[in-house]
């Protein structure tokens, strides 16, 4: 893969991880974690592990996001710490 694109993906990966850890609104944290999973899937595909990237895109960016949204709506939306 072109290394410039890969560098941009790495930068956005670190950004989304930091935002997901630091933000107070937990729904934003869930969306950031979904973005993290999708960028991770792109990196897996770029490294040649297509099957792993496929699983990461389906599970991490699809089903887990929906389940975390359900959990956020059943508990509180704001983080306490």
């Amino acid at each position: 893969m072109i290394w410039e694109i890969e560098l941009i993906i790495y930068i956005f990966l670190a950004l989304s991880a930091v935002v997901a850890l630091e933000v107070k609104d937990l729904l934003v944290a869930v969306v950031m974690m979904t973005i993290f999973s999708f960028l991770m899937a792109l990196l897996f595909v770029a490294m040649g592990a297509i099957d792993v990237g496929f699983t990461e895109a389906v599970i991490g960016a699809g089903v887990t996001g929906i389940l975390f949204v359900v959990v956020v709506f059943q508990t509180s939306r704001k983080s306490n710490d």
Binding site: I50, D51, F54, T55, V58, I59, G62, V63, I66, L67, V69, V70, V71, F73, Q74
Partner: protein, 146 residues
Amino acid sequence: MRRQFESPIVLLGARLLSPYIMVFGWYVIIHGHYSPGGGFQGGALLAASVLLIRVAGGRRVARLQIQEFATTPLAIIGVVIYFATGLVSMAMGGYFLDYSALPIPGMDPAWLRYTGILIIEVGIGLAVMAILVMIYDNMVRGEDYD
């Protein structure tokens, strides 16, 4: 799930997107033995298409698609397909999941392995889809959503 407000655009988008995700899930399952993907990924895609409708539409719309009491039998059917294939080939003199011993007439062992993996992956896909949908249904159970 509890809805903050009624949004026909979200429901229309989910209804537009869901059948294509489901067709792609079946594509991944059917082509799982010679391309990336397989039973687990295809089943998760099927579950994603079902969960999209459930999140967007609530219980009233989800009742039209896969009802809550149907998830456990679907999961059991998937597991039974998996183990029945393995045990039938075991009963026919091979090992567990030895597809070349499957009793399908008119097929040489290469085609029998091809078909056996296909049957296994349909079972795995059904079980994964039903169990992921079941997890969602159990999580939103106490919620007064309509």
